[in-house]
């Protein structure tokens, strides 16, 4: 055998030693990390914060469906900043199931119970409402905030709202009789309901005195029969008339949850080798956070509010993303998100990172971002928003990226 005495064969005996030396070198290195040479290398991947003003800003009016929300509002309040606001509520009670009560006698009492969610105005003021019968049927789901309540002039009772959390309004016996007659008009429930809808199209809560606007819970506006049986309202809604808004100039804009003035902005995004937003080139597409920041003029809001007067506090601005043909329809779907109030500086911040990334990935960017204080809950929220014309705290995008 020519390889019998080969040196290579002999070295094969030492192979385990060589492997062991290699392995020990590897093991020796594993657990000894440390920060060395931080001054030697630059910090690539610098986090950069860019601020891009939002300039493409317009306000528009969007039709708001104000029926069957969580609440409905009624009252009159002359706001020094946001104008004279008159809200008129509507509510239609339901017919109780005969099986749920003992016999309803002609002299039995029926109360209408209202639960109060919110007050806008003078908290010390007691205000009066007429409960007026509607002259015709109406539908909560198709009721808009501009709709004119179908007044009949037939006031069946009046009631006051002071500091109470709830109000029980005793219905007149004439109305109890009408209610009773419908209740026993037929054994067929659908026939009874049809008759009730014709005979009792609901009530209009007409504010009779100035001082505050009260928001009532819709679902919990009940008829109370025999002190224990609560019959939920069938439908409810409200209308708002606003006049004499204070002029605040171009740098500020009064906006409302009633959608009567909705600001919107358009963000132009061009994504090629670099990312350009509203004409500003970022030189990176690595976005860690894109935040829209909106600011209110809290000082003016506070200074225009007399003592003991309140406005429903705006904690969020709802953000809608709508294309032109979606306005007046897609708002029914709800917002894409909310800009929450930053407790540190009072700004409203909305995280747009996902949307901008989507646009970079080719999603459509034809729409505009619309802002509405709080949701369409039935409570009337107001906010004094700074516009792009504002010298300070104008709306902007705050972009944190890695370059």
């Amino acid at each position: 055998m020519i390889f019998k005495r080969s040196s290579l064969r002999q070295v094969a005996r030492y192979f385990p030693i060589i492997i062991a030396v290699f392995a020990s070198l590897l093991v020796y290195s594993c657990d000894k990390p440390g920060i060395v040479g931080s001054g030697l290398v630059p910090s690539n991947g610098n986090v950069v914060i860019d601020t891009i003003p939002l300039t493409n800003y317009v306000t528009s009016k969007i039709e708001l469906y104000s029926g069957d929300r969580i609440d409905y509002s009624a009252g009159i309040y002359n706001d020094k900043l946001f104008g004279n606001v008159q809200a008129t509520g509507l509510v239609q009670p339901s017919l109780v199931l005969p099986s749920n009560i003992d016999t309803l006698k002609p002299d039995d009492k029926i109360y209408m119970r209202f639960y109060i969610d919110s007050v806008y105005g003078d908290t010390n003021q007691t205000v009066t409402f007429d409960l007026e019968e509607a002259s015709q049927r109406w539908r909560g789901r198709s009721w808009t905030v501009d709709s004119i309540p179908p007044a009949s002039g037939n006031v069946i009772t009046s009631f006051d709202v002071g500091h109470d959390d709830s109000i029980d309004v005793q219905m007149p016996q004439s109305w109890v009789s009408k209610y009773r007659s419908v209740l026993y008009s037929s054994k067929d429930a659908s026939v009874r309901d049809s008759i009730f809808n014709i005979k009792e199209p609901g009530f209009i809560l007409v504010p009779k005195t100035n001082g505050k606007i009260v928001s009532f819970q819709g679902q919990n506006t009940n008829l109370i029969i025999h002190d224990s049986v609560a019959v939920n309202a069938k439908t409810w809604a409200y209308s708002v008339k606003r006049t004499n808004e204070t002029s605040v100039g171009d740098s500020l804009s009064q906006i409302y949850s009633t959608f009567s003035r909705v600001p919107s902005i358009k963000i132009d995004v061009k994504s090629d080798t670099t990312l350009t937003i509203n004409g500003d080139t970022l030189n990176t597409k690595a976005l860690s956070r894109v935040e829209m920041a909106l600011y209110e003029d809290s000082t003016m809001m506070q200074n225009t509010l007399p003592a003991n007067n309140v406005r429903p506090k705006v904690s969020n601005i709802n953000i809608y993303y709508l294309e032109s043909d979606q306005i007046n329809f897609d708002v029914l779907k709800g917002p894409i998100g909310v800009a929450a109030r930053n407790p540190k500086d009072g700004s409203f911040r909305y995280n747009l990172t996902g949307q901008i990334n989507d646009i970079m990935l080719g999603h459509s960017n034809k729409g505009r971002f619309y802002f509405v204080p709080e949701g369409n809950s039935g409570i009337i929220y107001s906010l004094l928003l700074r516009t792009p014309q504002s010298v300070v705290r104008n709306p902007k995008l705050i972009i944190t990226s890695v370059k």
């Binding site: 390889f3 040196s7 060589i18 070198l25 030697l40 910090s43 976005l287 860690s288």
Partner: protein, 429 residues
């Protein structure tokens, strides 16, 4: 014996495969200096010459010699060479110290005689640089700028990898017993990657992964000349001189950036376009080596390499101010205890020691990043020309002065040289 053959063959193939993985290393960390330029420079060295602190330009050795194309004509058997090395780096600055270890391939080469001892061709694959670093820096977003209104801390990790490789097909011609020349065109390619990961202490911020890479491809040319003469000063001596020049290489380079982003469809790769195209130019590399067999047992040699990095051009077509011309000097000796085959294992080994100095091609913070190494090696030959070389290298790179780091480096290289005779034993028998 089959076992030894398989081990060597497997090792050769492994080194080739590791190349295909673009210089992956065990822990993805190496010299922090590899952040600069095209990374840490790897001189293609003959496995015998490594132990002598040289690359082997002027060294007449038994193995396939990658250092000088002129050597490829004087081959009788087809031979292959490959290997890998493990490098242990202890980095320290004035405050801290850390230790990293990398396992990397060194080279792969196949030399085939077209006309024995007259004309041969060589196919080689070897890296000339490797980028292999990882470091993390911390910073913060102040409360006034942060989305949360609180301080948001973040870490940025930079991790570099890749390098420049040569795939070379060359020819050597032994003109006469004294003179040989060689030429090797090559495909030069490689990707230099910098992966940047940014993580924030607040979930309000999306982590960012940003992958930058410069892809390079081009053609290179290398030529060598080798002269040897026996009986110069005595009856048993031999003097050899080699020259090698690798011409500047113009690489077509593309910078691209890719990042991963969170969208409504989940985290996806953001399609990127090439940000920049340009031409990266590698500079002229020349070398000269002299070796002298004093007798049949003792060889001494020295070598000088020069690279004109002041001519380097980055992808922007500009010269990087921190690059400077490089000179590498090596000197070493080899001792063969027996000039013919002995029954003693240790008598058959080749013992080598050497020293090298490298001026480096970086000048950072007004300080040249120089290196000093001492080397030692063992050559373990077989009767049929195959061999295993085990070379160790110990030395220093850089300095702690001027906010730099000093690296204490220990490398262990294993190279395998395989001749076709190993597979012809049955015929020989």
């Amino acid at each position: 014996m089959k076992y030894i053959n398989l081990v060597i063959l497997f090792s050769l193939l492994s080194s080739g495969l590791v190349f295909g993985q673009n210089n992956n290393s065990i822990n993805d960390k190496g010299s922090l200096y590899s952040y600069y330029g095209i990374g840490t420079l790897n001189d293609y060295r003959d496995s015998d010459a490594q132990g002598m602190g040289m690359s082997g330009i002027g060294l007449n050795v038994r193995s396939a010699n990658l250092a000088n194309p002129a050597m490829w004509g004087n081959v009788f058997y087809t031979s292959g060479s490959g290997g890998f090395f493990i490098r242990n780096i202890e980095s320290s600055d004035n405050l801290n110290k850390n230790i990293k270890t990398n396992l990397e391939p060194s080279h792969f080469q196949l030399v085939i005689p077209v006309k024995r001892n007259k004309v041969g061709v060589s196919l080689g694959l070897f890296p000339i640089s490797s980028s292999n670093y990882s470091y993390t820096k911390s910073n913060f977003i102040s409360p006034i700028n942060s989305a949360t209104g609180d301080t948001v801390n973040y870490n940025v990790n930079n991790s570099g990898s890749g390098g420049i490789d040569y795939l070379e097909l060359g020819i050597g011609w032994q003109i006469n017993k004294n003179l040989a020349v060689g030429y090797a065109p090559s495909l030069v390619f490689g990707i230099l990657k910098d992966d940047i990961t940014t993580n924030f202490s607040s979930t309000a911020y999306q982590p960012i992964q940003l992958n930058r890479k410069i892809s390079n491809i081009g053609f290179g040319n290398r030529a060598g000349i080798y002269f040897q003469k026996s009986r110069v000063f005595s009856d048993h001596d031999q003097l050899s001189v080699g020259l090698m020049a690798s011409l500047p290489v113009h690489l077509s380079s593309t910078l691209s950036v890719q990042n991963y982003i969170a969208s409504s469809g989940g985290t996806v790769s953001n399609p990127t376009k090439n940000l920049k195209n340009g031409n990266l130019r590698l500079p002229l590399r020349t070398g000269m080596g002299i070796s002298y067999w004093i007798n049949q047992k003792v060889l001494v040699g020295s070598e000088v390499l020069y690279q004109k990095w002041s001519d380097f051009q980055n992808i922007d077509g500009k010269h990087d101010s921190y690059l400077k011309d490089r000179i590498r000097l090596g000197v070493g000796t080899q001792f063969l205890p027996a000039n013919k085959r002995s029954n003693s294992f240790f008598q058959n080994l080749a013992y080598r020691v050497g020293f090298s100095y490298d001026s480096g091609y970086l000048k950072l913070n007004d300080t040249s990043i120089q290196s000093w190494f001492i080397t030692a090696g063992l050559g373990i030959p077989s009767k049929v020309g195959s061999s295993i070389n085990i070379n160790a290298e110990y030395g220093f790179t850089g300095s702690k002065a001027n906010n730099l780091i000093r690296e204490r480096i220990f490398s262990l290289r294993i190279s395998f040289n395989l001749t076709e005779l190993m597979f012809l034993k049955h015929k020989i028998q």
